[in-house]
């Protein structure tokens, strides 16, 4: 039984390619917003990236629906399509939270007097999670996907610790509010990295993520 080309394969390749484009763009969007925060900028380019990610997410969603309608996929093909919708949504959300961070920078203005070290450290951990989620998807690397949740715990803890600190300290409201908001967005990005990792595992093993 030799492998024969199937009509569905063209669509699956197109989906994969769209998702890899989204992966690259969403990484760039988050990096741009973090860079703007740590170096003092506004991340104006993030808006365009986020809009483009939304458009790509719609394309993935439309193509997935079309393929389900036309080819009635099963087994690995069906799992891939289901996972594509989840992963595409994850990449779209990366971009959306990057935009939220850029909007904080725009709204709050100059943050150069704020201590940003803690937030930037957490941002780097989150970026590492994004990188791992993208690589896990690109290579269908289940082992890498399984490492992501442990890092999510670290980012969650950073967010909670920061909240406690802000409640205890009577610091600069602008600084505490901006860092809390940005950490919240980073915490959500980390959650989506975890979901993407779970979807990668689902494609390969068929094991559904825990409810």
């Amino acid at each position: 039984m030799d492998k024969m080309p199937r009509l569905m394969d063209m669509g699956l390749e197109k989906l994969n390619s769209l998702l890899l484009d989204m992966a690259t763009l969403s990484q760039q969007a988050v990096s741009a917003s973090i860079e703007a925060y740590s170096r003092g900028g506004k991340g104006a380019e993030v808006k365009q990236m986020s809009t483009r990610l939304q458009s790509l997410h719609r394309q993935v969603s439309d193509l997935s629906m079309e393929m389900i309608a036309r080819y009635q996929p099963v087994a690995t093909d069906l799992r891939f399509l289901k996972a594509c919708l989840e992963i595409s949504y994850g990449f779209f959300r990366y971009g959306r939270y990057a935009l939220d961070i850029a909007e904080v920078l725009d709204m709050f203005g100059d943050l150069s007097k704020c201590d940003r070290k803690f937030v930037v450290e957490t941002a780097h951990k989150t970026q590492e999670m994004i990188r791992m989620s993208v690589e896990a998807f690109a290579r269908r690397d289940v082992e890498m996907a399984r490492k992501i949740p442990k890092m999510d715990d670290v980012v969650d803890e950073s967010y909670r610790n920061n909240l406690k600190k802000m409640l205890e300290e009577k610091g600069n409201l602008k600084c505490s509010l901006s860092s809390t908001l940005i950490l919240r967005y980073l915490e959500r990005i980390a959650d989506h990295a975890t979901y993407i990792g779970e979807s990668v595992e689902y494609i390969s093993t068929g094991v559904e993520p825990p409810a």
């Binding site: 039984m1 492998k3 024969m4 009635q72 099963v74 087994a75 093909d77 799992r79 068929g206």
Partner: protein, 256 residues
Amino acid sequence: MQSNHTEKMSSLGLSAWYGEKQALVNVSISMKANSVTAIIGPSGCGKSTYIRCLNRMHELVPKATVTGQVLLDKEDIYGPGVDPVMIRRRVGMVFQKPNPFPTMSIYDNVAAGLKLTGMRRGKSLDDIVKSSLEQAGLWDEVKYDLKKPGTSVSGGQQQRLCIARAIALQPEVILMDEPCSALDPVATAKIEGLMASLKEKYTVVVVTHNMQQASRVADFTAFLYLGKLIEYDETTKIFENPKEDLTERYITGKFG
């Protein structure tokens, strides 16, 4: 495999031959009561042979032989002293091509089996004919045309007439051998809907080469290849996450 269904019928180490040629190799499948079990696989994999063994029709082919067991309510239908005619009454069959008796009316097509058992025309026979046509979802379409020939209705209606004919004998299991392969999508949808309602009263086993049909109608699916059972599981598991690579390749169309 976890299931709330009890077993109605099963094959244990079932092998079948046409002369020297082996068509089934040691197939063991447990079919659950009040469920639809689909048998899928490529042409020549033994799916039709398999269901023909379930009501002892395989042995009607010259030089055809069977080994192993087929249990119906835990009793071997190939056991000594078992009457194959009685088995065929308990395990009815619907074929690929609708085959109403061409010289008989719609009424007589449904009543034919019962008349052979000695039942006379009368109210009880009328009641069974009506009930069978109702269960086959055909009564409203033919109730004023019962005296017309069975072959005068459409192909889809003829197939439902054949299902009514099988039901009239009050079987426990209904075997269907690619029952929709000669029908258009509308008639196919009616037969598929019918399978879902029939399983409330009967155990249904359907052979199909249409995998989407198996995924739509069946509670359990068995995949046969070259006469061997490759995988048998709940339909959702077979079509979402099959255990065997061969099943995966067949259902995703990656067979060469």
